[in-house]
Assembly symmetry: C2
Homo-oligomer: 214 residues x 2
Amino acid sequence: MIVDVIDLAVLGLLDDSPLHGYEIRRRLRAQLGLVANVSFGSLYPALARLERAGDVEVIDDDALVAPLPSTGSLSGERAASRSKRLVGGRARRSRKVYALTEQGRATFATLLAEPSTSDDSRTFGLRWSFARHLAPNARLALLERRRAQLVQHLDDAGPAPELDVYAKSVVEHAAHGLASDIAWLDELIAAERAQLSEDTDRPAGTPAPESAPA
Amino acid sequence: MIVDVIDLAVLGLLDDSPLHGYEIRRRLRAQLGLVANVSFGSLYPALARLERAGDVEVIDDDALVAPLPSTGSLSGERAASRSKRLVGGRARRSRKVYALTEQGRATFATLLAEPSTSDDSRTFGLRWSFARHLAPNARLALLERRRAQLVQHLDDAGPAPELDVYAKSVVEHAAHGLASDIAWLDELIAAERAQLSEDTDRPAGTPAPESAPA
DNA sequence: GTCATCATGTAAGCCGTTACATGATTGC
DNA sequence: GCAATCATGTAACGGCTTACATGATGAC
């Protein structure tokens, strides 16, 4: 099972609340624009694929504005709810609102924790964005895996051979960026460790502090 | 004419000395591993394409060992380790050594200066690596274009909405990275400006200082 | 009545990777 | 003889973007 960045992003957002495609994209741009970005051309097919896989399902549009009435099966009404429908007196174009299924929740958890997959910064950034869904020890593991990858990456480069000022400045800046990423991870690791030992010291039921220091 | 990162890399390396594909890749990994990387699967087709386009040409393998302008870096060790090679020219396995044509030199200059194209960090890193091939004012223009792009990018993000600690840390770190890139560019710009005015003040022929302060 | 925005979707195409196929040379 | 490295190439495939097609709705 190969991690699709897009799957992670979609499942992660839907884990908070049901959303339609357009809104998913809007949120990704607004919230994580610097980290993740997707075009409709990949988002909609991804949603369709996730639906086929049973990780998400289309729910009634009304779910967004009002809680679902306790009618058992939506499937018959789904077609009716597509196309024009009155919501609070305003007509709305058809939107397909997606929600996570139980299976989808499991898939998300798996993808998020998956230790085996791609090491690029986008995937890590996305994972860490959803880190609140991870158990404390899984968070630490994620950070340490990433750290090891970056250190490895830095080692692979080795000492640069003779380069002119310009090329050297690029290489050095890249190395500096990597070092800065590692330092960041070190901070996060320290913060996680601190919180972990706090949680261990404090008996269950005691209110937790607001989290790591800014 | 769309800038292919790979074209820029290949032409740039060949501008120093003729090389064969395997060596081009080795150098890219060794010198710019943190910045650029190419697989054989894209490199060889790219070389073929550049040859068809008339930007590079295959030269005689002997040119690498025989005295030729600007082949210095390879000759020593390589000539020794290849001692088996017969001067007659048919003992060694085929290596296709590519050299820039006049047209290729022009193409390289164009690609390097091209103001219109992609704004990703890899392209910029590659361009700046070859910045010694640019005129001082073109160097400044390149830096300033890149700076404007990054500032724009930072503005696009806008103030982040409510995010939990984890997502926030990712976004902030990304923003920090961007800011750090901008600061780096500012240093480079300052250094270029300083050198530019020095060159202007000093009459031609006066030796130039070693460049910007570290 | 038409323009901007919301909303969904498909198709073409680029760019690059991995995997495969092939073969020479060197060292053990 | 065999493995590792050097060396070149092809083919399949994947992911993502752009451009296109469609349509509703609200504002002016």
